[in-house]
Symmetry: C2
């Protein structure tokens, strides 16, 4: 079975027009597909209006009990269910899920070391047989950034990590491609020039680009995660803008494709 | 297939201890089962803290855009997902759903007559084949009081009506029993005496009890709905306290059972 896993973040979710446009593209995306989403600035904004201020450490939200309630409401309720309703209107048989539903994604609360992240989950396992049941039923899962510990506790979980975990788990049985929509057109040679996309990266090219400092800072963990997914059997990883997703599906130049295998030049 | 549909309201959801106790009972409830829930006072309390005041007409919430967002967050997010996580800890393979997920329940926005209820849905159809897929996958749906119009709009929908609609739709193929948990031990001869439960009501007895004014006011629509469900093929309807649910499942005296068929005394 060919499965596409598409992850969107705040740069799509936070803008109603962009989200609408994205959902239309997603509806046309061929084959079995999973949409993974976080919550963008909505959760923070909403928390603030309730007097719960977001606390971030290294780009990760510190999730106390009140913050967990807010992200559960915003991610699993407001954002997820409105997307599902809109996809249903586009004749995509979407089903909105957290990691608790059908025991889809089981996590462990992150151990406290230097930082206490609070109710944050690190993924332990993915229930792929549940996903197979859904695919066989013609359903398209829409999965938000919340998992559980199988002991009754919901846990806030990074959406990129969820997309990767789903991809690597499903790759054991299926042909899986992973698409990360973000705020740039792909991996760029010149950060300021959206036309300077590097179309294809493999491990050899990645090593060179890091040496030359073309790829640095925030792109490094993204690409490390991508290669990790590829080593675990994911077919390819794409990074680019949401609006270019359909071009990517058609194999057209539209972002950066990350593949594991080196070109054999001999 | 034998299916039990159990509806709980604010008198269970609003009290963490009672909810915990109920979920433990639900986990022991035999066979295929669906849990239907609204949101109790949580949504109102939460809306108030955001400055959105609940407006009620004839016991129904008027659902403007802000109120819809709040009930979506509280019902589909906070309450639903925490219940699912707790059921998973009790080894019930629960899956939390709105009517939008899998196009489960399609509604139409209530037409404006004397009152504009806002984003309130009247149920049009239930997707039983989706439910069959879930049952075959060993899943137990936990369904909140939100549906959609299949045109992208979520709609706030009465939880009793959802439970009845699910029951009558599934009754076409399955043996369905419907359980309404409420704040009394059943239909009482004397409202002030919780021990004065009428154990069994059929249409003949109902007619008599109404004549004698034993059944009046709020109980009338509840029983009318129950008989409507029975006429549409539901096997029996039970009304009682959540804590007596397991006794009911074991066929023990524990509330009021409503059955369609009259005793043939001849």
């Amino acid at each position: 079975m060919k499965i596409s896993i598409i992850k969107i973040g705040g740069n799509v979710i936070d803008f109603p027009d962009k989200l609408e446009e994205f959902l239309a593209l997603f509806s046309k995306f061929p084959g079995h597909k999973i949409l993974v989403h976080g919550g963008g600035v909505l959760a923070s904004r909403f928390g603030e209006s309730l007097g719960v201020m977001p606390e971030m450490v290294d780009g990760r939200r510190i999730t106390d009990k009140d913050t967990l309630d807010i992200v559960t409401m915003v991610y699993a309720g407001l954002i997820n269910k409105n997307m599902v309703a809109k996809l249903q209107a586009l004749n995509v048989n979407a089903i909105g899920l957290t990691g608790a539903d059908g025991n889809l994604i089981q996590s462990v609360k992150r151990p406290v070391k230097n930082i206490d992240y609070g109710f944050v989950g690190d993924i332990e396992k993915v229930n792929t047989s549940f996903l197979n049941t859904l695919f066989e039923g013609g359903l398209h899962p829409v999965i938000c950034a919340i998992t559980h510990d199988k002991s009754g506790q919901l846990l806030n979980t990074n959406a990129d990590s969820i997309a990767s975990a789903l991809a690597t788990s499903l790759a054991k049985e299926h042909h899986v491609n992973l698409y990360f929509c973000f705020n740039k057109s792909g991996v760029l040679v010149d950060e300021k020039n959206e036309n300077s996309i590097i179309p294809l990266i493999n491990e050899e090219i990645y090593t060179e680009l890091r040496k030359e400092n073309v790829i640095h800072s925030g792109m490094i963990p993204k690409l490390d995660n991508a290669f990790e997914a590829l080593r675990k059997g994911v077919h390819h990883v794409w990074i680019g803008k949401a609006e270019n997703l359909l071009l990517a599906a058609k194999g057209k130049l539209s972002g950066t494709i990350i593949e594991r295998h080196r070109y054999d030049l001999y």
